[in-house]
């Protein structure tokens, strides 16, 4: 039993990513999409917070949204897996439920 959580807001804009990570259960997946991808970067003011809260959670980022924002793939934090749209669909299909954090 696991949940796929999606987050589409920058952690610099509001608390959505923090709240999501605070409610995700161990073994859940959190996929950062759209402006949510800023939460997947290393070397910024949120990186440590995200890594800490996400320790028992599988973290993913949508590669297309990373590229669209001119973020070098090398800036995606360690422990965050980049996925494409097809893998996104596969994740949504294989989990028990999807929870979108708006």
């Amino acid at each position: 039993m696991s949940t796929l959580h999606t987050v589409n807001k920058s952690p610099f804009q509001n608390q959505t990513l923090i709240s999501c990570l605070g409610h995700a259960k161990a073994g859940d997946s959190v996929l950062m999409i759209e402006d949510g991808v800023y939460g997947a970067m290393s070397g910024n003011a949120m990186s440590e917070v995200v890594a800490g809260l996400g320790a028992n959670i599988k973290l993913f980022v949508l590669g297309a949204d990373v590229a669209a924002r001119g973020i070098d793939a090398g800036r995606v934090a360690e422990g965050v897996t980049s996925v494409n749209y097809e893998e996104f669909v596969g994740m949504a299909a294989s989990c028990d439920r999807v929870q979108n954090w708006l």
Binding site: M1, T3, H23, A24, K25, Q99, N100, L102
Partner: protein
């Protein structure tokens, strides 16, 4: 009864700054017609939706907070409210509306709909659903 699914409507936004809160309530009322097991969750700024004493006259907005008290008529009787979200905002249960439902299975006794839960318990509630809808 196996075709009855558990639906959770997750509310994380304050009531008047955006249309999310009002839309969510409307969707819940419409969705209640489908005889599913419906609950609502209020966390983060969503807890502001339930405060009592909302008066929108001067702001020129429709005050939809009384509608939460009609949810019992629609058999929506579980309103989970997150303790930490209340604490962070300096709110207590006393700041929220008294929302009750009549328990048809218990001689129509009035019972409170609001269930205050910890963040960890809220995570359990979320993980226990068939469908989670966010607003």
């Amino acid at each position: 009864m196996s075709d009855v699914k558990k639906f959770l409507y997750v509310n994380r936004k304050a009531p008047y700054g955006t249309i999310y809160a009002q839309e969510a309530l409307e969707v819940v009322l419409i969705g209640a017609a489908f005889d599913q097991d419906v609950a609502m969750a209020f966390l983060d700024d969503g807890v502001f939706q339930l405060t009592k004493g909302q008066d929108t006259k001067e702001a020129g907005l429709k005050n939809f907070s009384p509608t939460f008290r009609a949810l019992g008529d629609y058999e929506v009787t579980k309103l989970y409210v997150e303790q930490e979200s209340l604490d962070e905002r300096g709110l207590t249960l006393d700041d929220l509306q008294d929302i009750q439902y009549e328990d048809e299975d218990d001689d129509y006794e009035e019972k409170p709909s609001i269930i205050v839960v910890s963040r960890a318990a809220m995570a359990d509630v979320m993980a226990d659903q068939d469908v989670v809808l966010s607003f």
